[in-house]
């Protein structure tokens, strides 16, 4: 499904819960509207209906998980918007526009390897849950890096069960293996029959793209992040440079957020 065809609508949803799961990091739970299907990798533009003056634009957030009748978004208080949202009381009305964008494609690979840096972990719960359901024989691996232990997400039993293996890394060595998640992949870049998924900060994805290209890995999908004002192709703010021009840029909201890393000028 292309982004332009996604069945987007404007939903007004009241905050059901905000649950802290790591330093500055929280699950935002909203009631799942009836009859709205959202696929792993889809995103939503979320803004408070009664916004404070300091928050004007909506923010794009990938769907984190769909569970027990709730849309769950994994947010980290990195800017004034996400900091404000963390303090929202249950019942706070949010404007939720979506689902938007181009979601993950589900491949038939035997191994699905998700590589997450920091809050880039967000889209992989819904992706793993969908793969569990539609590719029950596939192996699902998560490699997840943070700068330090305090930032590492606590997974509950249900979330832990979505993955056949979870490897954790910290740059300062306070939890799991010391180093970046890229270091942690080690010799496994050349593994055959793997679908790769990446989400995280730009330097991490750039490095991951380079290593995957060197290993001639053909099946990789990255979920990227950009500043957006609208989320559906009008504001033209979310340009990402293409490796082969023309066109020089793509709009990440329509031709993303999930991209083939080989198509991007890193």
């Amino acid at each position: 499904m292309s982004g332009a065809d996604a069945p987007a609508a404007v939903h007004t949803l009241a905050v059901e819960a905000i649950d802290d799961v790591a330093a500055g990091t929280y699950w935002l739970a909203l009631p799942e509207p009836d009859g709205v299907e959202c696929d792993p990798g889809h995103f939503f533009m979320i803004s408070p209906v009664d916004a404070p003056a300091a928050i004007f634009l909506g923010r794009p957030f990938s769907i984190g998980d769909v569970r027990q009748g709730r849309w769950r978004f994994l947010l980290r208080a990195l800017g004034r918007g996400t900091a404000w949202m963390r303090r929202m009381a249950p019942g706070t009305p949010l404007r939720v526009v979506g689902p938007l964008g181009r979601p993950f494609r589900l491949s038939d690979a035997a191994v699905h390897r998700m590589v997450a840096g920091g809050i880039g972990l967000a889209p992989f719960f819904h992706l793993a849950r969908r793969l569990r359901s539609e590719r029950p024989d596939a192996r699902i691996e998560l490699l997840y890096g943070e700068r330090t232990d305090a930032a590492h997400l606590a997974l509950d039993a249900d979330e832990r069960g979505l993955f056949d293996s979870v490897e954790r890394f910290t740059e300062d060595g306070t939890r799991g293996l010391r180093g970046t998640v890229i270091d942690g992949i080690g010799e496994r870049f050349g593994d055959a029959g793997v679908s790769w998924y990446g989400c995280g900060p730009h330097p991490m994805l750039r490095a991951l793209a380079a290593r995957l290209a060197a290993a001639e890995a053909a099946d990789a999908q990255f979920s990227l992040e950009e500043r957006m004002a609208c989320g559906f192709g009008v504001c033209q703010g979310c340009v990402v440079p293409n490796r082969e021009a023309p066109p020089r840029y793509r709009l990440l909201c329509l031709d993303g957020p999930v991209v083939d890393p080989r198509e991007i000028a890193w």
């Binding site: 404007v10 004007f56 634009l57 909506g58 500043r227 009008v234 504001c235 703010g237 340009v239």
Partner: protein, 330 residues
């Protein structure tokens, strides 16, 4: 009365006439915030609107500025999109015919620009040549463009280049003509007067204000181009000020009011200041249903106040004293 649209507006309390434009309601979607008329159809039907203005079209396609292109501000945003557009030919071939099938009574204004006054004239001539295919109800000229023949000065900020540009477009097409005015000048009124002298049928005001945000951690401007255009509720009082001033100075010049409209009350302020209709832009990024909500709000207001849009236009000037008051100079 020029009638080039595809349907006749239903008469009602929201109907309004802005010079040559008969509108079913006074809400238009503003240029640069509505694509080519096709962007919001997933949310609501196009004929909900009184009209819409296309993204600025050049003769040749443009890829636009390098990122970062947008930055949030308090009650607004900065943009530095760089007038990215598909170019006139692609608009005609891929957009115009399809939009005409769905727009009903919604008026379509094609917004045009060029890299120099001569290019404005060229694209206006193309609009004229293609008018039977495209069926625009009017042309809106975006003069807030750098003039490559004059070292990149902003055409909309220099009266001589502004006059040359409007004159060229007026010569090239007989379509109804609106000129979109920049607020980045000491006084907008002489530009409005100039547009009228050169045969424009009306003016659209205001365009975005120059602005900049600086990232205090990186110690450099947030936008890739440094500065950008400020839009959103932050600029509402600026737009109302200039609409009021232009109306007072040129009471017969039709006005499309623009700048920071996010609610029906904002739209009513523009009507009272003297605009016959308004354009809504940035607010629709945040709430894609902003335009239908504003129209619904105007319907409720007109019903409860037993008034019409036409009766509101310029009403803040009546009594004379306000219109005669000196301009505040700080």
């Amino acid at each position: 009365m020029v009638r080039t649209g595809t349907g006749r507006p239903e008469p009602g309390p929201l109907a309004t006439v802005c010079g040559p434009l008969e509108l079913a309601n006074p809400v238009l979607a503003a240029s640069g915030t509505f694509g080519y008329g096709d962007a919001f159809e997933r949310f609501w039907p196009l004929d909900t609107l009184g009209g819409f203005v296309t993204k600025t079209l050049f003769l040749a396609p443009r890829e636009g500025n390098p990122p970062i292109r947008i930055a949030e501000t308090k009650a607004g945003m900065l943009n530095s999109i760089g007038l990215a557009n598909v170019g006139w030919d692609a608009f005609v071939a891929e957009k115009a015919v399809r939009v005409n099938e769905s727009r009903g009574s919604a008026r379509m204004l094609v917004n045009i620009a060029g890299n120099a006054p001569s290019e404005f004239r060229e694209i206006a001539a193309r609009v004229e040549a293609d008018r039977e295919v495209v069926r625009p109800d009017a042309v809106e000229v975006n003069v807030s463009c750098p003039n490559v023949e004059e070292g990149g000065t902003n055409i909309g900020c220099h009266l001589d280049q502004f006059r040359e540009t409007v004159r060229g477009v007026r010569d090239a097409t007989s379509l109804p003509l609106f000129v979109k005015l920049s607020p980045n000048v000491a006084d907008v009124v002489p530009f409005a007067a100039c547009a009228a002298e050169e045969g424009a049928d009306g003016v659209s005001l205001i365009n975005t204000l120059y602005g900049m945000r600086i990232d205090v951690e990186r110690r450099r401007p947030v936008l890739g181009t440094g500065s950008g255009g400020l839009s959103g509720p932050a600029i509402l009082p600026v737009g109302i000020h200039w609409v009021y001033r232009v109306r007072a100075a040129l009471p017969d010049l039709p006005i499309l009011g623009i700048g920071g409209i996010a609610s029906w009350e904002d739209a009513v302020q523009y009507l009272l200041a003297g605009a016959q209709a308004v354009q809504v832009g940035t607010a629709a990024f945040v709430d894609p249903e902003a335009c239908p909500k504003i129209i619904a709000g105007l319907e409720r207001y007109c019903a409860s106040a037993e008034t019409t849009v036409a009766a509101l236009v310029g009403a803040a000037h009546r009594g004379g004293e306000l219109a005669e008051a000196p301009v505040w100079t700080g």
